[in-house]
């Protein structure tokens, strides 16, 4: 939802970043305001996932230039956990399995870390349990998922739903969904999209990173960006996604003068 005079949540200016000494991001610019849903699309190797990892602070990604301002603070100076506590959430493309840590304990530790950082009292196991059970409905998850180890033995769809459950509990200001739709069947996709839509509000913003236009039928973006060669080459509205679906990416790259 595009709103008049709404607060800028994220500003990215001329961002460059390396992985293993190879430059992947080559001057990326983006601005996201409260209430908005943005989608970044692009071919494989365009740097989409790198961008999401850089925003979340993955140690393997080295920022070499530019800046990222999140709600007035320099995001790049913060540790990954500080970014999370201040309201950045990354739903992973491949959520990790953590044998031996129960989903419920994991969610509670994460939730209370944020509460503590905000100067709020931590929720005890009992109150937290109650809160989680309400959130389960957002992703239509069975409560037996809570007692299982984090993502261990979960199907692809269950892992992605578990990501959205974490998002529902942490209530981020900026949610970045990295290929959350890939590999999902249509029922799981509807559930995941329904969860994301339910959590979107005029106060927060969503950044979808995807390969497929299909997701955007269920989560309707306000802006669609085409990314290739480490930059955003073109920005449009949801119609751009349909155009990409019909015509592919080559024309955008050609118009931007980027070699395919």
């Amino acid at each position: 939802m595009i709103q008049e005079n709404s607060e800028v949540i994220l500003t990215v200016r001329d961002l460059t970043a390396n992985v293993d000494g190879t430059q992947i991001l080559k001057g990326l610019n983006l601005e996201i305001k409260a209430g908005e849903i943005h989608a970044i699309m692009g071919p494989n190797g365009s740097g989409k996932s790198t961008f999401s990892k850089v925003l979340a602070g993955h140690p393997d990604y080295e920022v070499t230039g530019g800046e990222v301002i999140f709600q007035g603070q320099n995001l790049l100076e913060l540790e990954p956990e500080e970014r999370s506590r201040s309201g950045v959430f990354l739903a992973f493309q491949y959520p990790l399995e953590i044998p031996g840590v129960s989903n419920l304990d994991f969610l509670r530790v994460a939730f209370n870390a944020k509460r503590k950082a905000q100067g709020l009292e931590e929720l005890d196991a009992f109150d937290f349990d109650e809160m989680v059970r309400e959130k389960l409905d957002v992703v239509k998850m069975d409560d037996r998922f809570l007692s299982r180890s984090v993502n261990e033995g979960f199907s692809g769809g269950e892992k992605k739903r578990n990501e959205i459950l974490q998002m529902a509990i942490l209530e981020p200001t900026l949610a970045i969904l990295d290929e959350t739709d890939s590999g999902l069947d249509i029922d799981a996709l509807k559930i995941v999209a329904g969860g994301v839509n339910q959590l979107a509000s005029p106060q927060n913003a969503t950044l979808l990173i995807t390969h497929y236009q299909r997701l955007l039928n269920y989560i309707v973006p306000d802006f669609v960006h085409v990314m290739a060669a480490g930059r955003i080459l073109r920005t449009g509205d949801k119609e751009l996604a349909h155009e990409l679906e019909a015509k592919g990416y080559d024309w955008v790259l050609e118009e931007a003068g980027v070699g395919v």
Partner: protein
């Protein structure tokens, strides 16, 4: 020159062993027990403290043991509060420095259980069991057999299903440099079932040497759920033997948790004497600072239709060193055997070290056997995943390390033991 040196060393090692033997207290025992002692003593006189040239001690250097001049021990019971297990509040047998401590014990045993210290019981009927396990000739086992003056004896009567766990506590509480030789004997008669918690605790900060032997006999269709916890003090030496015989259709499960001692070795040996037995040998070793913690297991599946599973995990930090050697023998007679063995190791520091050697020796051809070992560090991606959810890196590492250990702790059947161990391993 080399030969002279090595001869000199091996004679040092023989001298050191006979000095340990000389520390054994005199004993007024029944004839058969006396005979057992003397036979073992005669064996010890022909032996030496093993060196790293012995294949079984390749990674565990016992030289530090030679540098301590050990003393005989005496019983002390002041200022001791053994860890208690509420589930076993009425079935707890405590030994201090190898001697039964009735004032610390409580033995209102459930029906079908006889529990006693050997020195107080009519022992004739134990003759076929005590010191009769395979592997009894091993040097430290022999030293214990030659030296022990008392033993915890647990007998479960035929068909008795014992719901209350039995807690055997062996405390070392010595002034200095003592050798303590605890001994236990468990006999589960046919169709009986029991859970046993065997715990080694060390008080004080002085160096001492615990040389323990536990023998366990499962008769046909018996079940024993065994938890062994080693929490010696951080200066101690601990060498412990668990020798188990399993008759047909019996089920033996061991969860061994090694936390203490400066240098420790657990020899876990299971011998099958009848078909269709089930054996579980799970282990958890946590070694920090400059601890050395060694587990050697032997599983001899000599009969058909046996099943076994073993998961041994080591968490090694600082400059500590863990050793795992697991032998599984499946000779020709052991057809239709199903044996699995896994050793997983987590190294938390660049100076930490683990030596692992899972060994499967299969002659039978109609079997399913798997084994393997992994050595790794905490996955950077796992730590990042937790960080991305607001959990700081140190907490993330602790959570992941604890989770690694919990795979074993969760298999312990007694809730309060799980809880206590959980508290001990999460700093």
């Amino acid at each position: 020159m080399t030969q002279v040196t090595s001869l000199a060393r091996s004679s040092d090692r023989a001298t050191a062993l006979s000095q340990l033997l000389e520390l054994r207290p005199a004993l007024q025992a029944s004839n058969w027990w006396q005979e057992l002692r003397e036979q073992a003593a005669a064996r010890v006189q022909e032996m030496a403290i093993p060196s790293s040239r012995d294949e079984d001690w390749r990674f565990t250097d016992l030289s530090p043991l030679l540098q301590v001049e050990f003393q005989a021990t005496s019983a002390r019971t002041e200022a001791i509060e053994p860890s208690s297990i509420p589930e076993a509040a009425q079935s707890c047998l405590v030994f201090v420095n190898g001697t039964f401590a009735p004032q610390l014990s409580s033995v209102e045993m459930p029906e079908g259980v006889s529990i006693a210290s050997l020195s107080q019981s009519n022992s004739e009927h134990l003759q076929p069991y005590l010191g009769r396990q395979q592997g009894a000739d091993e040097v430290f086992t022999s030293l214990n057999t030659a030296s022990f003056t008392d033993a915890a004896v647990v007998q479960i009567a035929r068909n008795a299903i014992v719901e209350t766990p039995i807690h055997l506590v062996f405390i070392s509480h010595t002034s200095s440099q003592a050798i303590v030789q605890p001994r236990a004997l468990v006999v589960a008669e046919a169709n009986s079932s029991v859970a046993i918690v065997e715990e080694y605790l060390g008080f004080g900060e002085d160096v001492y040497f615990t040389n323990a032997v536990t023998e366990i006999w499962l008769e046909a269709n018996a079940r024993i759920d065994h938890t062994r916890i080693q929490r010696e003090n951080s200066a101690a030496f601990h060498i412990g033997k668990t020798a188990v015989s399993q008759d047909r259709d019996s089920h033996y499960a061991c969860r061994a948790v090694n936390l203490g001692a400066k240098l420790s070795r657990h020899n876990l040996e299971v011998y099958q004497t009848g078909s269709q037995t089930e054996t579980v040998m799970d282990g958890l070793t946590i070694a920090r600072d400059n601890q050395l913690s060694d587990t050697h297991s032997i599983l001899a599946l000599t009969q058909p239709y046996g099943t076994s599973s073993q998961i041994h995990k080591c968490i090694v930090d600082d400059r500590a060193h863990a050793v795992f050697n697991g032998k599984v023998f499946v000779p020709k007679a052991a057809q239709k055997t199903n044996a699995n063995q896994v050793n997983r190791n987590l190294l938390l520091s660049p100076k930490a070290r683990v030596d692992t050697k899972p060994q499967l020796e299969i002659v039978a051809d109609d079997v399913r056997c798997t084994h393997g070992a992994t050595v790794g560090q905490l996955e950077a991606d796992e730590v990042f995943y937790l960080q991305s959810r607001g959990i700081d890196a140190a907490t993330a590492r602790r959570l992941l390390t604890t989770a690694f250990a919990y795979e074993i702790i969760d298999r312990i059947s007694i809730p309060s033991v799980r809880e206590t161990l959980g508290g001990l391993i999460s700093p």
